[in-house]
């Protein structure tokens, strides 16, 4: 990651130096501004879902759920770490249902716990499954299409679902094949 960052940053900076030196700082500031506004909306989302998950934890529901999901999920993540696997499987479920914002705090908790146990394979798998998107229903896209006067806004549902299932499966298989067990 350090390498990618250095190369992209330096290349862009050099190009800007010649073409538009004023654009350099303003681009950086715009990025920072985006981070600030995005953080605020993320904070709002975290408040709602972290509250929700805490209630779930205290009511004993998460324990029941994790019992249910553990046998399948521990194979997927190759981990015996019950708590981490629970958060990871909830993250996948929330992704699948497309609950806006819910997957991220769950995913971070899972990633932290996997990392603490030095289970890198599990973190990689979790990341790839998240990054290939396994949303059942592309709600944002459909809403946007309808807003632009589409006659059949939902007709992209099936191609999107097939494509995303394919990418998730492919990503999962590639992680399985290439990443070493920890």
């Amino acid at each position: 990651m350090n390498g990618i960052f250095a190369i992209l940053f330096l290349l862009s900076a050099v190009v800007l130096l010649f073409l538009d030196p004023d654009g350099f700082l303003s681009a950086l500031l715009k990025g920072g501004e985006k981070a600030a506004t995005l953080s605020l909306s993320l904070l709002a989302v975290y408040c709602v879902w972290l509250g929700f998950f805490k209630v779930m934890e205290k009511s004993g529901l998460s324990e029941k759920l994790s019992h249910l999901l553990f046998p399948a999920a521990k194979r997927l993540f190759r981990s015996q770490n019950k708590e981490a696997v629970y958060f990871a499987s909830c993250n996948l479920a929330a992704n699948f249902l497309g609950l806006p914002g819910a997957p991220t705090p769950l995913g971070i908790k899972a990633a932290e716990k996997f990392c603490a146990a030095r289970e890198h394979y599990a973190v990689d798998m979790l990341f790839v499954l998240n990054a290939t998107s396994l949303q059942l229903l592309p709600t944002t896209v459909i809403a946007l299409r309808l807003a632009f006067g589409s006659q059949q806004g939902a007709d992209i549902f099936l191609p999107t679902l097939l494509a995303t299932l394919f990418s998730t499966a492919l990503g999962g298989i590639l992680v399985f094949l290439t990443r070493k067990r920890s």
């Binding site: 862009s12 995913g107 990392c115 290939t132 944002t140 946007l144 494509a163």
Partner: protein
């Protein structure tokens, strides 16, 4: 689509009623959960900021546009309409940017056109990979390996090819 908006309120209702049965102090418990929000955000923020700055810089330098122009013929060969090239390349970097681009495509080609449908599938079947990598690997103390990121990018790209093909036949 209407029943979908019921999922979230029902989820909350079910959980809270169940929690009351289990004699959970709802108010205390909910606030306890919220307490974790700010530390979580703080741990994330530096990675988020640096990633967004980098993508802004990359876009502003015109390198993003150059890359798009350079890759357009290859995309056409793979069955991806060149009009959505930019979207496919931008999506891994910026969620809000690609949403804006998707609306542009809708207004330029019509929301029901083949190009718009391909764009929808390209948008819906992939994620903002770099943002997610920043978030998920934030806690990792080890050096971040590029392999999982490349896997995710590759899998998403294959999904776009498949999606454009499916749009043609479906």
């Amino acid at each position: 689509m209407k029943y979908l908006s019921l999922i979230i309120p029902l989820l909350f209702l079910t959980l809270f009623v169940y929690a009351l049965f289990k004699r959970v102090k709802l108010y205390d418990c909910f606030t306890d959960g919220i307490k974790e929000a700010i530390p979580l955000l703080l741990s994330l923020f530096p990675y988020l900021a640096v990633m967004l700055m980098l993508s802004e810089l990359f876009e502003a330098s015109g390198l993003a546009a150059k890359l798009t122009a350079f890759l357009a013929p290859a995309f056409r060969f793979l069955g991806i309409p060149p009009e959505i090239c930019k979207l496919v390349l931008l999506k891994p970097f910026s969620g809000s940017g690609s949403t804006a681009l998707l609306s542009e495509i809708f207004s330029a080609y019509g929301a029901d056109s083949y190009i718009a449908r391909c764009a929808c599938v390209a948008y819906g079947s992939s994620e903002t990979v770099f943002y997610i990598s920043a978030v998920y690997f934030a806690g990792a103390k080890r050096k971040i390996s590029a392999v999982p990121i490349l896997i995710a990018l590759f899998a998403n790209f294959c999904a776009v090819i498949l999606g454009c093909f499916l749009c043609k036949i479906m």
